[in-house]
């Protein structure tokens, strides 16, 4: 197999999973919530985009926007159901885990009941053009995937760096107790965080649907991969998640080419276990320059 194919595939996968992983990472570190309903939000935004393509327009921008907005809406729903009522109760981490898992199970069954088990197909939002770079063929959807997810990610990171809400979210990621002391409302920030991470899931959903189909349970594997990448990168670190996404994207592309697609999850988890054995805080443990506490 040629090297160019592996590299391009790895980069595309890294971009899509990286977006998911960053969403999970930000949610965990700012709200203390491991969002297991991410798979549902992912599938929901796929269906949102599909509905837009069916009834509004098959224009790529419309479909994409519909996916992102549905994802954000799904995030707000998760926040209202699984964060607001229980976030200040004892043992919130486990309760939140169970609540979001419940939303995931109920939500995906609901999607199946409503839309039926048959997979749906989204229009090709990037067209069918091809780009030749030497002997590497870049299809339009690969280029579009990479450009869009990198652009969206940079936008989110820029927003977190420079805006006031972003400062609030970062403050909560580092020290929720101190964030309360300086007057940051946990609940409102929860809505921001889950809407933004939901939007990221929506983007990933539409992008991934350029390769796969949309189905009620289609969010499960991306979510597992997203959680795995977030863990490997060190929960809470955005840069760590990006690096982990690149490493695991390469692993996925290499494994599926050299060994076969059915071994992807096996090699992925072996890799993650190795990283966590050597660096218990994940890749972020290497990057972090500031002392904790």
């Amino acid at each position: 197999m040629d090297f160019g194919f592996i590299v391009t595939n790895a980069i595309v996968l890294a971009c899509i999973y990286g977006g998911l992983a960053i969403g999970i990472s930000i949610t965990w570190s700012s709200l203390g919530l491991i969002n297991l309903s991410y798979g549902f939000v992912f599938a929901l935004s796929g269906y949102g985009a599909w509905l837009a393509a069916q009834y509004v327009s098959t224009n790529g921008a419309v479909v994409l926007l519909a996916g992102i907005l549905t994802g954000a809406l799904g995030g707000v729903l998760v926040c209202a159901l699984a964060f607001i009522p229980i976030h200040d109760k004892p043992n919130f981490t486990v309760r939140g885990l169970i609540a979001t898992l419940a939303i995931n199970l109920i939500g995906t069954q609901g999607l199946m009941w409503w839309f039926g088990p048959r997979s749906k197909n989204l229009p090709e939002i990037f067209g069918t053009g091809k780009l030749h770079l030497g002997n590497i063929v870049l299809t339009a959807d690969k280029v579009g995937n990479v450009v869009l997810s990198v652009a969206m990610l940079l936008l989110v990171l820029k927003w977190m760096r420079s805006s006031r809400r972003g400062l609030e979210i970062r403050a909560m990621m580092m020290n929720p107790h101190a964030a309360a002391i300086v007057g940051i409302g946990v609940r409102r920030t929860g809505f921001y965080v889950l809407a933004i991470t939901g939007g990221l899931a929506g983007l990933a959903s539409v992008l991934l649907s350029q390769t796969y189909y949309i189905s009620p349970f289609g969010g499960l594997t991306p979510m597992i991969k997203g959680v795995a990448i977030a863990l490997c990168g060190g929960l809470g670190s955005v840069l760590g998640a990006v690096i982990a996404a690149i490493v695991l994207g390469f692993n996925e592309a290499l494994t599926s080419v050299l060994l076969g697609g059915q071994y992807v999850l096996i090699t992925q988890f072996i890799l993650i276990i190795i990283v966590l054995l050597i660096r218990p805080r994940g890749i972020a443990g290497i990057l972090d320059k500031a002392r904790e506490a």
């Binding site: 200040d88 004892p90 400062l167 020290n175 107790h177 309360a180 002391i181 002392r291 506490a293």
Partner: protein, 250 residues
């Protein structure tokens, strides 16, 4: 508790904080017992007492951060205390919006944010946020060593520098009541004295400041009133001259 003697200029001063019958604690433990406490605007109060006698818990209760609490807390005439058995910190941001600045013990800092972002995060009210450039300049007047460190993550600073950042963050806000918890704790005596001098140099205007401190000599002659705290109750009070005495209840 007997009636609190009013400070000399109390006739024109307003109550910033009025605490009545406050009890607070964590779980089965009750730390504060039916406490009454009044702070007038423009005052600087020293709160002294041993470790574990409830100074920090009193501050936390005013901010709504204790495990449970009951009793009335009026901040600028607005009731911010409520009977609550769980959810520490749930209403804290609302209390802060009413004009409270808590500068907690042990520097509750955001280790990855830079000094500048820290100061920004303290300017929570809309007015403070608009004026944040001017206010930051003011903080740098009080703590000149921070000038060089504005772009450095706080996690890399020394203990004394962190304390300055922590206090600076509190002073950035629009607060009418500043609660400063153990500003000299864990610092070398010289640095602790410097931090205390900086706190004393802050122009309070209409707001008030309460400083919890174990080292009475640091407060001597610099505050308007000194109040003692013992086993969850306020005991004894002395004015500026600091003839500090504990009154015993039968």
């Amino acid at each position: 508790m007997g009636g609190q003697p009013l400070p000399a200029s109390a006739a024109v001063k307003q109550e910033v904080l009025n605490v009545k019958g406050l009890s607070a604690g964590y779980g089965a433990m009750r730390v504060i017992h039916d406490l009454d406490f009044i702070v007038y605007s423009g005052e600087r109060i020293g709160l002294v007492g041993l470790n574990g006698h409830g100074k920090s818990t009193l501050f936390y209760a005013i901010a709504g951060l204790t495990g449970w609490q009951r009793g009335s807390i009026k901040l600028n005439g607005v009731e911010v205390g409520r009977t609550r058995s769980q959810g520490p910190g749930r209403y804290t941001h609302l209390v802060v919006r009413q004009g409270l600045a808590l500068i907690p013990q042990g520097d509750e800092i955001f280790h990855g944010l830079t000094v500048e972002e820290h100061l920004d995060s303290g300017a929570f009210t809309p007015r403070a946020w608009r004026e944040r450039t001017k206010r930051k300049a003011g903080i740098l007047e009080i703590f000149p060593p921070l000038r060089k460190l504005m772009k450095v993550p706080v996690g890399r600073l020394s203990g004394g520098e962190r304390r300055m950042v922590s206090i600076g963050r509190g002073l950035m806000s629009d607060a009418s009541l500043f609660l400063v918890d153990e500003p000299s704790l864990g610092l070398a005596p010289k640095i602790g004295k410097g931090v205390m001098a900086a706190l004393m140099s802050v122009d309070l205007g209409d707001s008030a400041m309460v400083i919890a401190e174990q080292n009475i000599s640091l407060l001597e002659g610099q505050v308007d009133r000194v109040i003692g705290m013992h086993v969850g109750k306020l005991k004894g009070e002395a004015s500026a001259g600091l003839n500090f005495q504990t009154t015993r209840e039968a």
